[in-house]
């Protein structure tokens, strides 16, 4: 019996259980310590939560682009982070022009919609160009080749934007309609911008889900991600579907770019990098290829990143816990992937042995 047990769980399994267990213990102890110290009130936690939700919405929108493309092409579109950035960047020019002419103050709704539209058009253009020039010729190549191409494209786009428009960071102007806060229950303060981000994000995710589940294109997309060749035999134009997938993912990312910029205001050519990695982490967390998984993963990651450092580390006496927020995010990713290798909601792509 013991022998059977030993054959089933190898030394590495035991090692991982020990490591995982210690981390969980640390987390629990730290959280308990932080909460019992009472340094942070309910208002603080609410702030962290809302901020995490807003950030998570941005992550979720970007993550959807990663997961959609991965579902269809089995490749990580490393350059997706720059698709996100391009929307934010070009949106900047539009919103600055509108702010300067006063249009933004008079018709905020129309102005913002215009910004979103231009941003999404930009990001879609970049994505479609990427697909045609860099990815399509390499569809049958071994996995590493399109990955490297994507990495190259990512650098290229970052630097192109930087050198074309200048290295200085640019700031999104004030949007009077979005200034200020709302107060709930007399105590909890939420910024108007955060509300916009969360609501807009939720709306877009909802529409995407409906699109993929209900429309003909959506069904075709799911078919292609199951089996490209069989889908082609069913009469589906696989190339067109792939382009459409890129378009949808890019549109979401472009919108996310504007939302991000409205929240954080300062943008430059490198703003895509970290959110891109986080978003891909979120997609993997939720189960790569899984659309609700990407949404869930993004929101989860955003909240975890916002609440986690203070909750876990403050109680343990760690100085400047916010510096380590990325560490927390990645550690969580590793733990999830070790103990649930296919992600939270499970990936949609199964690979059989032999």
């Amino acid at each position: 019996m013991l022998r059977r047990l030993m054959e089933r769980f190898t030394l590495t399994d035991i090692f991982m259980w020990v490591v995982g267990g210690s981390i969980v213990t640390l987390v629990v102890v730290g959280s308990y310590a932080t909460l019992s110290q009472g340094t942070y009130t309910a208002r603080h936690w609410f702030d962290f939560l809302v901020f995490g939700l807003a950030q998570g919405s941005v992550y979720a929108l970007i993550a959807l682009g990663y997961t959609l493309v991965y579902g269809i092409l089995r490749m990580i579109n490393f350059a997706h982070s720059e698709v996100f950035m391009s929307g934010a960047y070009i949106g900047f020019f539009v919103i600055t022009a509108m702010s300067g002419s006063g249009f933004l103050d008079e018709n905020p709704l129309v102005a913002l919609l215009a910004v979103f539209l231009v941003a999404m058009i930009t990001s879609v253009t970049i994505a479609v160009l990427l697909e045609r020039i860099a990815y399509r010729p390499l569809r049958r190549s071994p996995r590493l080749v399109p990955l490297i191409t994507a990495i190259g494209a990512s650098f290229f786009l970052q630097e192109a934007f930087r050198t074309l428009f200048g290295s200085a960071s640019k700031g999104y102007p004030d949007v009077p309609a979005l200034q200020g806060t709302w107060t709930l229950q007399g105590e909890f303060i939420i910024q108007k911008i955060q509300v916009l981000v969360i609501v807009a994000g939720a709306l877009m995710m909802f529409f995407l889900y409906m699109f993929v589940m209900r429309t003909k294109t959506g069904k075709a997309m799911r078919a292609v991600s199951e089996d490209k060749d069989v889908a082609a035999l069913m009469g589906i134009d696989v190339d067109a579907i792939i382009v459409r997938t890129f378009v949808i993912g890019a549109a979401l990312a472009g919108a996310a770019g504007v939302l991000y910029s409205l929240m954080f205001r300062l943008i430059n050519a490198y703003i895509g990098f970290i959110p891109g990695i986080k978003a891909f982490t979120a997609a993997v967390l939720g189960g790569i290829g899984n659309i609700p998984g990407a949404m869930l993963g993004g929101l989860f990651l955003g909240i975890f990143e916002s609440v986690g450092p203070i909750l876990f580390l403050d109680g343990l006496g760690v100085a400047a816990p916010y510096q380590l927020k990325d560490v927390i995010a990645f550690t969580m990713l590793v733990l999830v992937l070790i103990f649930r290798p296919t992600g939270i909601l499970g990936e949609r792509l199964a690979t059989a042995k032999a």
Partner: protein, 584 residues
């Protein structure tokens, strides 16, 4: 298949011309044309900015002519001309629109200087005429290349390439030639006076002629060089071999003295990346484990050496609280050991992970290490964002100190030689085959009796060892380490250089490092645009030559003896089946 019916040649020319035009617009607006114009290739005749545009136009014409390979030569040339006119028109439009649209507010590089360069200093109709003629002529030249017979094509292309290369690398040549006694007279005629530094016209012509001639002659007799060596008898062959080794050793000893401090420094940087490349080559190239967090081991090696050798220990600002200030060599060994352990520890969690998950998790590990090293939390031990200064230097007795680029050179070369030797031996061994089988098909490899856990961990450990060694050398070389030296970019750099060089190929690592680390260091104008060209290079390479510049399979051209006609007798070893050592 996109198009099945043949397209009209004008359509092809216009499309390719538009692509070329976009490229030309891009490099103009990013500021490359203006920036590069400061350096001459051929003094007063050709500066780098113009050369870049020239290249684009030649490439456009060449692609057009090649795409229309099935048309008569007249049409091909005509199409090339048309494809050269399109960029000219586009650039002229740009020039016209810069002022009225106030493009400078969005594109800071749309400056008067740019306009000057693009229009050859002219205005209006003359400018347009000159641009059109230039565009058409350059594209026509490119279009003519596929039409020229191959015998002439190679010499011309090689000649031009070498003129360009030597013009670009003139700094190295000048420095090196200055250090060789008696070579200064070459300097005087090859590199001109004139208003800047660059090849003189005479120099350019001479180089072109020499290279062209050499290429032309070599075409006639391909395998000449290889055969004379095999025709020697054993004793002479051995003497020749020894002779080659001795010459190489002497050459390496003298090299840093020839190169001087700056170039030695560049070589050291290349060497450190070669070291890392060899390590990652084992992890990714041999074993197929996509590790995007390789920089973690580099960082660990550097920080171990930093902490163990620094003399800035105490509780003042910029100091760490614990540091034994030990000898560099001991710290070096410790760094490698700690890296190996880290390789195993970080390898365990990812044992069961598939390609892309493995990539992102290892990436995460790399970031975790970097963030922790620079965090306030660990500041007393790792120096936080201020890093560690006064890192120790290798010394032998009281005599030799490896503190200058020229001396560190020897340590770097020794490390690379050791790593290269180990990689070479491993490649052709049972272990190497095991790793490659793992790369090709993990499940079937396991079914061959291969123990996956130990195989993967050994790959990680070996790769980590090389990276740790590289990090240790890096720390000593720079003298102080900061967390921002260990960004994801480094992992990507190393990955790119082994892919550009050819994955799994040992000479490829060297070539990749030269191309992706050495060249950018040497060409300082490029520093602003380094990553831009880097990204473009990766894309172009993957689209055109994904197997790399020096792929693994080329060595297979050296065929071993072919297997003789074996009789269909059963192989010896299988005489007693079932007596396999059930030792597994």
């Amino acid at each position: 298949m996109d198009q099945d019916k043949p397209r009209h040649w004008i359509a092809v020319a216009l499309q390719l011309g538009a692509t070329g035009g976009l490229a030309a617009l891009l490099i103009s607006l990013v500021g490359m044309v203006e920036e590069f114009a400061k350096r001459f290739i051929i003094v007063d005749v050709l500066e780098m900015g113009q050369a870049l545009l020239l290249l684009i136009l030649i490439a456009t014409g060449y692609m057009t002519s090649r795409r229309l390979a099935d048309r008569p030569p007249r049409i091909r040339l005509l199409a090339a001309v048309v494809s050269g006119l399109v960029p000219a028109v586009m650039l002229f439009a740009l020039v016209l629109l810069i002022e009225p649209l106030n493009m400078r507010s969005i594109f800071p590089n749309a400056s008067p200087t740019l306009i000057e360069i693009l229009t050859f200093g002219q205005r209006g109709a003359i400018a347009f005429a000159m641009m059109a003629v230039a565009g058409a002529a350059q594209a026509a030249a490119g279009g003519a290349v596929p039409l020229v017979s191959p015998r002439w094509r190679a010499p011309i292309v090689q000649g031009v390439v070498w003129v360009g290369l030597l013009g670009l690398l003139q700094d190295i040549l000048r420095v090196t030639l200055t250090n060789i006694p008696g070579a200064t007279f070459v300097l005087s005629w090859m590199f001109g006076g004139g208003s800047g530094k660059g090849l003189s016209i005479l120099g350019a012509v001479v180089i072109f002629a020499l290279v062209g001639y050499a290429t032309f002659r070599r075409q006639g007799r391909p395998a000449a060089a290889a055969s004379w060596r095999s025709r020697l008898d054993a004793r002479t062959a051995r003497l020749v071999n020894i002779g080659i080794w001795v010459a190489a050793a002497v050459g390496l000893y003298l090299l840093p003295k020839l190169l001087g401090p700056y170039l030695s420094e560049v070589t050291n940087s290349v060497g450190i990346f070669v070291l890392m490349g060899l390590g990652l080559n084992i992890v990714v190239g041999f074993a197929g484990l996509l590790d995007l967090g390789y920089v973690a081991f580099y960082a660990i090696g550097a920080y171990v050496v930093g902490v163990l050798t620094t003399t800035a220990v105490g509780d003042q600002a910029g100091q760490i609280v614990w540091g034994p200030a030990m000898s560099f060599w001991l710290a070096l060994m410790a760094a490698v050991l700690v890296s190996v352990m880290a390789g195993i520890i970080l390898g365990v969690p990812v044992l069961n992970m598939r390609g892309d998950y493995l990539a992102i998790v290892t990436l995460g590990f790399g970031e975790i290490i970097r963030i922790m090293a620079g965090s306030d939390f660990l500041k007393p031990f790792t120096g936080g964002s201020q890093g560690i200064v006064q890192v120790g230097v290798g010394r032998i007795g009281g005599l030799v100190a490896f503190d200058k680029p020229q001396t560190i050179f020897y340590v770097v070369v020794a490390a690379c030689a050791a790593a290269g030797f180990i990689s070479w031996r491993l490649r052709d061994s049972r272990m190497g085959r095991t790793w490659k089988a793992l790369r090709e098909d993990e499940d079937v490899a396991q079914a061959m009796g291969i123990h996956l856990v130990s195989t993967k961990l050994l790959a990680f450990a070996t790769g980590a060892a090389f990276a740790g060694l590289a990090g240790a050398l890096f720390a000593s070389k720079i003298g102080s380490i900061y967390p921002h030296s260990f960004k994801l970019l480094v992992s990507i750099n190393v990955l790119s250089l082994i892919i550009v060089g050819g994955m799994g190929s040992l000479p490829g690592v060297f070539i990749g490092a030269l191309a992706l680390v050495g060249l950018p260091e040497l060409l300082r104008e490029f520093s602003e645009y380094r990553l831009l060209m880097y990204g473009a290079l990766l894309i172009v390479m993957m689209l055109n030559r994904p197997e790399g510049l020096m792929p693994e399979a080329t060595r297979r051209r050296e065929l071993r003896e072919t297997d003789g006609p074996e009789a269909e007798a059963p192989p010896e070893g299988v005489a007693n089946p079932g007596e396999v050592a059930a030792s597994g």
